[in-house]
């Protein structure tokens, strides 16, 4: 609802049909986003009202903490990894991210963890950087000329 309200305020200028004839076809740039946002707003209000009037039993989004933690176990490292790409580059992040999951979730022996951390970025480098010629973000070590990625 909040999102829709912000979008409606942003495009309010063009919301109404233009009678002055300055806009082609009588509607301006803001007409369409405003009414899309209004649709979202109205539905959100309706759904909110309905769930307030007739609360559905047992529809809590997280029925147990375990489920929430399982989701967070994936979400938090993912957010950290994405944020770290700008500094560490894609390949270093891949190595750390794969290693983290292999050790923490998979409880693999260190030798497998290291193997994954080396082989996965190497495979991605070979297929994307060399094969498809897609340049992925590089680390600060690359900028300093210390690493090729």
């Amino acid at each position: 609802m909040l999102l829709a309200a912000v979008a409606m305020i942003d495009s309010r200028a063009g919301a109404l049909v233009d009678r002055t004839g300055t806009q082609p076809g009588g509607i301006g740039a803001g007409f369409y986003p405003f009414w899309s946002a209004a649709l979202v707003f109205a539905c959100a209000a309706f759904i909110g009202y309905r769930s307030w009037v007739t609360p559905q039993p047992g529809t809590a989004a997280f029925e147990d903490r375990a489920a929430l933690f399982a989701a967070l176990k994936l979400i938090i490292p993912m957010l950290v990894a994405t944020a770290a790409i700008a500094w560490l580059g894609f390949y270093v992040v891949t190595a750390l991210y794969m290693a983290l999951f292999a050790r923490w979730i998979g409880h693999y022996r260190w030798i497998w963890v290291v193997a994954l951390a080396v082989l996965m970025p190497a495979a991605i480098y070979a297929s994307f950087e060399i094969g498809f010629r897609v340049s992925l973000p590089k680390s600060f070590l690359y900028d300093a000329g210390l690493l090729p990625f």
Partner: protein, 521 residues
């Protein structure tokens, strides 16, 4: 005469599809589709979305090869999900949920996993084959008809697509409308194509070119699905049956298929029709097929206990709906299912305009795709019959490796299209949004279709109004536009009618109770 023209075009299509590189792309697509199909928590739609940026590289040399790859993933995933449902009692894909009802019981209780698998593969193949024949002969006719559409008619087609999603969707209509509004809003971000004004950018330069469709879909499907499945990991015990499809199983299945050939063909035809409706792909088709088989059956009590009709009918309908969902994409520029919405986004990225002009301007592309549907289903069918044990072993890939791998591939996918970290952030944000929408039971199909159609809907509306000098009457001015709009209104009235009827019943029940209570007093 027309018939022979189509056959000539189809022969040309086979010439394209049978080129070695296209066969390679088809096989790669099918293999990937089978892998994601078998794995629960990663669907065909996600795989297609994640692959989109890679197809850009392929499409530089040949868009036909790119679309063959993506369609191959769709066919592979349609078959792959079956293996997981029948052998592990877990749906590998949303469209194979219905196979849990009779597929697993036939495999386990009756001890016939080979027959259960073969039944579904044969039904899929037969269903898809009939659907592809319909596709071959009707898509061109629909496209020719659609060439006469002006902006008001096209706008009416888009409105009808949205109305179908609302009126025939299984979820709450209010939620579907909200998702459509949200999708249209996302599509509106960036420069307005007519006046050049920036919209909803809040001063961010990065948003001026709009929110890319690819990062949004990779987020909603790839990341959203993997978080949702991460949450479900470790819940429940996984039962495993081991199986392969032997010669005896094939003979037995063929016998069963002969008995049910009418059922399989009729559910395939209905599935095809259902698939051509916007937003309804294989999943809805599979449930429809199961419902029809049960309704038509004399032995209703056998359903749920391993009845072969309960495997064949939904499979035929699901595969044929999947093929059908490509028809409006090619002929009208309206996606028939979430997966075809993502494939359609691919067409935009490769510089093609989905819609009736494709048949004229990109003749080879369309017929190459149609021929590849025949080949794709044949290859998938043969691979599946031969390689069930191999497919089942995919389930052994550990979660600790698979999950981070999918996240990384999603990041590469969204980054590589424009070399932009903003796209990666958009993917992650929409991953969280997609996960939350799944949890709160908001439908994703209307959102994706609205994001894809948003620009075209707005453009056709404004072109119509410009042509009419601002009079909205032009939207129902031509008989065709008026009929389409009227149909849309009827579809929108369905949920309202349902609610009112339900309320009426509740009201009557309450009244009856009151009367009884008064009588007792």
């Amino acid at each position: 005469m027309e018939f022979f023209n189509v056959l000539g075009d189809l022969a040309g299509g086979f010439g394209t599809a049978l080129q070695p590189f296209n066969i390679l792309m088809l096989l790669v697509g099918i293999a990937l589709g089978l892998v994601v199909g078998v794995l629960p928590g990663l669907g065909g739609t996600s795989a297609v979305a994640i692959l989109l940026p890679i197809t850009v590289i392929i499409a530089r040399t040949s868009p036909t090869s790119a679309v063959i790859l993506l369609a191959g993933v769709y066919w592979g995933a349609l078959f792959g999900g079956v293996v997981t449902s029948i052998l592990f009692n877990i749906p590998g894909e949303p469209w194979s949920v219905v196979l849990l009802f009779d597929g697993f019981p036939l495999a386990k209780r009756k001890g016939k996993p080979g027959v259960a698998l073969a039944s579904s593969f044969f039904a899929s193949f037969v269903g898809a084959f009939f659907a592809t024949i319909l596709f071959t002969f009707f898509a061109r006719a629909i496209a020719d008809f659609a060439l006469s559409f002006g902006p008001p008619e096209l706008f009416a087609v888009f409105i009808l697509s949205f109305a179908t999603l609302i009126g025939l969707g299984a979820e709450s209509p209010a939620k579907a409308v909200m998702m459509i509004g949200f999708g249209l809003l996302l599509a509106a971000i960036g420069f307005d194509t007519i006046t050049g004004q920036p919209r909803l950018t809040f001063g961010q330069i990065g948003l001026l070119s709009g929110i890319g469709f690819v990062p949004v879909t990779i987020g909603l499907f790839g990341i959203g699905e993997i978080i949702a499945s991460a949450e479900e990991q470790g819940i429940g015990f996984v039962e495993r049956l081991s199986a392969h499809v032997g010669f005896g199983d094939i003979i037995e299945t063929l016998g069963e298929l002969r008995k049910r050939i009418k059922l399989v063909i009729s559910t395939a035809l209905i599935g095809f029709w259902f698939g051509t409706l916007p937003g309804h792909g294989a999943t809805a088709g599979s449930f429809l097929g199961y419902g029809l088989a049960r309704q038509w059956a004399k032995n209703k009590e056998d359903f749920g206990k391993g009845e072969i009709s309960g495997i064949m009918a939904p499979q035929a309908a699901a595969d044929s709906a999947a093929v059908g969902s490509l028809v409006p994409m090619i002929a009208l520029g309206v996606p028939g299912s979430p997966t075809s919405a993502v494939i359609m986004a691919g067409l935009f990225i490769w510089g093609l305009q989905p819609g009736p002009l494709l048949f004229v301007e990109h003749h080879d592309f369309v017929w190459g795709l149609i021929a590849s549907i025949y080949l794709g289903h044949l290859f998938t069918f043969l691979i599946c019959l031969a390689a069930v044990p191999l497919l089942a072993s995919i389930m052994r890939i550990p979660y600790a490796i698979l999950t981070p791998f999918i996240v990384l591939i999603s990041i590469i996918g969204s980054y590589s299209l424009n070399n932009s970290m903003l796209d990666v952030f958009i993917t992650i944000v929409f991953g969280l949004i997609g996960y939350w929408l799944r949890k709160t039971k908001y439908p994703l199909a209307p959102l994706v279709v609205a994001v894809v159609l948003g620009d075209s809907t707005e453009r056709t509306l404004r072109q119509s109004l410009i042509a009419s000098g601002g009079s909205p009457l032009i939207l129902v001015g031509s008989p065709l536009a008026a009929i389409l709009m009227a149909l849309a209104v009827v579809l929108l009235a369905i949920p309202i009618y349902r609610t009112l009827r339900a309320r009426g019943r509740r009201g009557e029940a309450a009244l009856e109770k009151e009367t009884v209570a008064t009588a007792i007093d």
